[in-house]
Symmetry: C2
């Protein structure tokens, strides 16, 4: 039987239009740290998040009284409630709240894929829950790497490779050059985790800011079963 | 001393705007087969080539009496003089001629980079001449993969990795995530050339069309010393 479903890796939001398929589920990936932080926030009971692409929109929401997370270039912006660190969302104060979030790369990727059949949020911290759910959907999958300012990012691409491997193991999907390449890179990276991290310019950037704890957390598998999903302008917890 | 020059890999023409640097030399890469064919054409004495993005432009030139190569999806278009096969340019009839060329991916990449400081044409067939020349320029380099319809292509990315390795060996450049990843993939691909080709969907596509001879040729190193370079609307031989 010919496989009709595809698993496809899109290495930058800037390439999304060349990867869009009307019927596919898009997984948005920004390992360091937006999508990892989103998974943490939902795990800690946030009810909704509103991802916005610009700081202007974030500011507007802040004026309206929302709790807002805003980050650019790895730094939490002044005057907002959160940055991009998963640890900042590990608090009871967010339970039941709606939080607006704008980040350097992740929220741009969500914006790029907004019209997809379905947009869900992927991180190492929810990888097993996500893959199990994807495998149950009988749909093609686009793994969308947020990258760094529209450029290739090592850690997002590795994650896309990790998910590709898990999905292909089920034998349901055909795939393409990018997914094969990233799955191969992920395999190799597992043989030497330290060297792997040295190849990530953003991990280096964050380490230089004293954020090694964040990096370590963002690479831990299966800290949560939540899968954030886009519904209109909101991210909510998939139920 | 801090390295000021960069070698950077851009994995799709669609991402070029995020990789453009005013002062950098751009190497356009379309291994199967546009940039390989261009190197062959100049090696066989063509004087100028005019790369055009659309079939309409190619048709217009044909009406004006030019020799024209036109290819889409691996197939030479009817009514033109050449397709995309390097072998079609291995003829004395092209000596001193100006040939117009339009292909699925390669000529689109040239178009994307047209305003770069300098645009040159890279292939495995001219890799040593190209790398020697690049190393002598004291400029940053962007390796622009033409890809397949704006998507990642295995063979173009491997070539970018091969050039990255040669340039980094000189110790002059700093680099980023994409270049490191592609250099690593290239290294690994060298360990098993057959498996390497099986990962290229376009090599499979061409093989299914009976074009294995073309594939083999396009992966041969150093068949020529020519480096085609863009000057205005023309590609000419770098002298």
């Amino acid at each position: 039987m010919e496989k009709k479903l595809t698993v496809d890796v899109c290495l930058s939001p800037q390439m999304y239009s060349s990867h869009h398929r009307d019927e596919a589920i898009v997984v948005v990936i920004d390992i360091l740290r937006a999508t990892s932080a989103m998974c943490t926030a939902f795990h800690y009971g946030v009810e909704k998040m509103i991802p916005v692409a610009t700081v202007e929109e974030a500011t507007e929401y802040k004026k309206q009284g929302f709790m807002v997370g805003a980050e650019r270039n790895g730094i939490a912006l002044e005057g907002f409630d959160f940055g991009n660190s998963p640890f900042s969302y590990m608090t009871e104060t967010i339970r039941g709240q709606t939080i607006v979030i704008s980040t350097t790369n992740g929220t741009q990727a969500i914006e790029a894929a907004r019209n997809a059949h379905r947009v869900v949020i992927g991180a190492f911290t929810n990888i097993s829950a996500l893959c199990d759910w994807l495998l149950a959907q009988n749909r093609s999958v686009v793994l969308l790497c947020s990258g760094w300012k529209n450029r290739f990012s090592w850690e997002d691409s590795m994650y896309a490779g990790a998910v590709t491997k898990r999905l292909l193991a089920a034998g349901l999907y055909k795939t393409g050059d990018a997914a094969i390449a990233m799955a191969f890179l992920y395999d190799e990276s597992q043989k030497n985790q330290i060297k792997f991290l040295r190849n990530s310019s953003h991990a280096e950037r964050l380490a230089a800011m004293g954020l090694k704890k964040d990096i370590k957390y963002c690479f831990q598998l299966d800290q949560t079963d939540v899968i954030p999903v886009l519904e209109g302008k909101y991210l909510v917890k998939l139920t």
